[in-house]
């Protein structure tokens, strides 16, 4: 199932060698441990640069959106 969402989420991430690596997300009162960061890309919204993380655990694919201006994380896609 492929869903498009825009849900604000909590994320535990590590900052390592100029990279941000999401480690765990909390969505719908449930924790998901990220096992792989498969792809990272950016996009522009006006002058703002938004970061997208395509990550997965053993059963789900998540696309996470990070707004670096407000340090807000959103879950924007789910595939399982």
């Amino acid at each position: 199932m492929h869903e498009f969402l825009n849900d604000q989420i909590d994320v535990i991430a590590s900052f390592c060698q100029n990279r941000v690596i999401p480690k765990r997300i909390r969505w719908n009162e449930r924790d998901y441990d990220i096992s792989n960061v498969n792809l990272v890309h950016t996009a522009r919204e006006g002058q703002k640069r938004i970061f997208y993380f395509s990550v997965s655990d053993n059963t789900n694919y998540f696309k996470l959106k990070l707004d670096p201006e407000y340090l807000e994380w959103h879950l924007v896609e789910l595939y399982n």
Partner: protein, 405 residues
């Protein structure tokens, strides 16, 4: 001096990027589609889907008929543009002569970097590894190495996915004779049919055919065909920015419609987008081209030139709608609308003598600044509040430089 040209063609590009992003799509037949999957075409089929007979530009219903298990997946153009920027920056590390041929294809002139074909092959392998490391292991490419662009492109088509094919000057004719006419970039179905009608079915026959007769049949294209049949192409790898010749948008409606009001709103929204891009590029247009595709897939196109150059969305819309309104067949529902601005030149719109128009012009400047700061969805016309365009799945977005994040 003989050149060494590398052509790099990403394999099933959009599908590979999605398979890189989402591991649950790997090894499965997937098709990247547009915004309305049921009314869309396959922009890219994955390698697995291609093996089952699915082809690019096939309608989704036909693709599903051929391969019922195929997963239709909506495209994400921003993601593809970002990855394109990433591999382009890799290419630029190895030569300053890189020509982006499309979102997933590039020509590299490596004549200065590689002294012979062996070095060029090593370079191609290094580039392929760098792409894998930077973009991900699912994103693969086929590489062709030859003395010119035409042959390099033909070479890259030979081994897919992930192949490297080389042909040097001495082997060009032998190599060409193993290919079909239509394999060559520049020979499509129509040209092939016309060549067949002249009794030409192979490159060998094309080489032996009289140049004079070819020019009689194809005009100046006959010279190109004759040179191509000998594997000759002296076009340079161009790494300079070329001015756009036209800027346009088209949109497949979510449902076929005969409602003129709906069509007008859609066209106005498209005109605003075209005008916004014109202003961003500091261009003005002197010609508008419109296209209407009916539900039966018949298309009507028309263009109109005008003397006063413009980059105003409302002006473009008025010209476009006037044309459509004249010849629209109201008995047939419409599936797609498109508008493009052509005959472009650098500059801004002339200041009007009329106060009201001057006000609109200065307001437009402010609105553009708002969009530049907050994005293209920052404002819309009140009349277009209910018009929502779903994003397309292909095409190239304004590049944003890759980061290390």
């Amino acid at each position: 001096m003989s050149r060494i040209i590398i052509h790099i063609d990403m394999n099933s590009y959009f599908a590979s990027v999605e398979q890189q992003a989402n591991p649950f799509l790997r090894g499965k037949p997937i098709g990247i589609t547009g915004k309305h999957q049921e009314r869309s075409v396959i922009a890219t089929a994955s390698i697995e889907a291609k093996k089952l007979g699915v082809k690019t530009a096939m309608s989704t219903w036909e693709a599903k008929r051929i391969c019922p298990s195929m997963i239709l997946y909506p495209g994400d153009p921003e993601k593809y543009s970002y990855i394109t920027c990433q591999f382009n920056s890799i290419f630029n590390e190895y030569t300053d002569c890189v020509e982006q041929f499309s979102i997933d294809e590039c020509f590299l002139d490596v004549s200065k970097t590689a002294t012979d074909y062996l070095e060029a092959i090593v370079l191609a392998q290094i580039i392929r590894e760098r792409i894998k490391e930077t973009c991900g292991e699912q994103i693969t490419c086929s590489i062709g190495i030859a003395p010119n662009k035409l042959m390099a492109k033909l070479c890259s088509e030979q081994v897919k996915p992930n192949g490297i094919t080389t042909v040097n000057q001495q082997n060009i004719l032998k190599f060409l004779d193993t290919c079909k006419l239509k394999d060559l970039c520049g020979i499509g179905t129509k040209i092939e049919n016309r060549l067949n009608a002249l009794g030409i079915n192979t490159f060998e026959q094309l080489r032996k055919f009289s140049l004079e007769k070819l020019v009689n049949e194809f005009k100046s294209y006959g010279y190109w065909l004759y040179e191509a049949a000998h594997g000759r192409d002296d076009s340079p790898v161009i790494n300079t920015y070329e001015e756009p010749k036209s800027i346009g948008h088209s949109y497949t409606l979510s449902e076929n419609t005969d409602n003129k009001k709906e069509m007008k709103y859609c066209l106005l929204g498209l005109s605003d987008r075209v005008a916004g891009r014109l202003r961003k590029e500091c261009l003005v247009a002197r010609c508008v081209h419109v296209v209407v595709r009916y539900a039966d897939f018949n298309e009507m196109t028309q263009q109109q030139k005008f003397t006063e150059p413009t980059s105003n969305g409302l002006t473009l819309f008025k010209i476009a709608w006037q044309m459509i309104d004249q010849w629209l067949d109201e008995s047939k529902p419409v599936r797609l609308l498109g508008i493009s601005a052509t005959t472009l030149s650098r500059g801004n719109e002339h200041q009007s003598l009329f106060k009201k128009e001057r006000k609109v012009h200065s307001l437009q400047k402010t609105l553009d600044e708002i969009q530049n700061r907050y994005g293209s969805n920052a404002w819309t016309r009140a009349s277009l509040i209910d018009v929502h365009f779903k994003e397309r799945s292909s095409g190239f977005h304004s590049p944003n430089s890759p980061s290390t994040m």
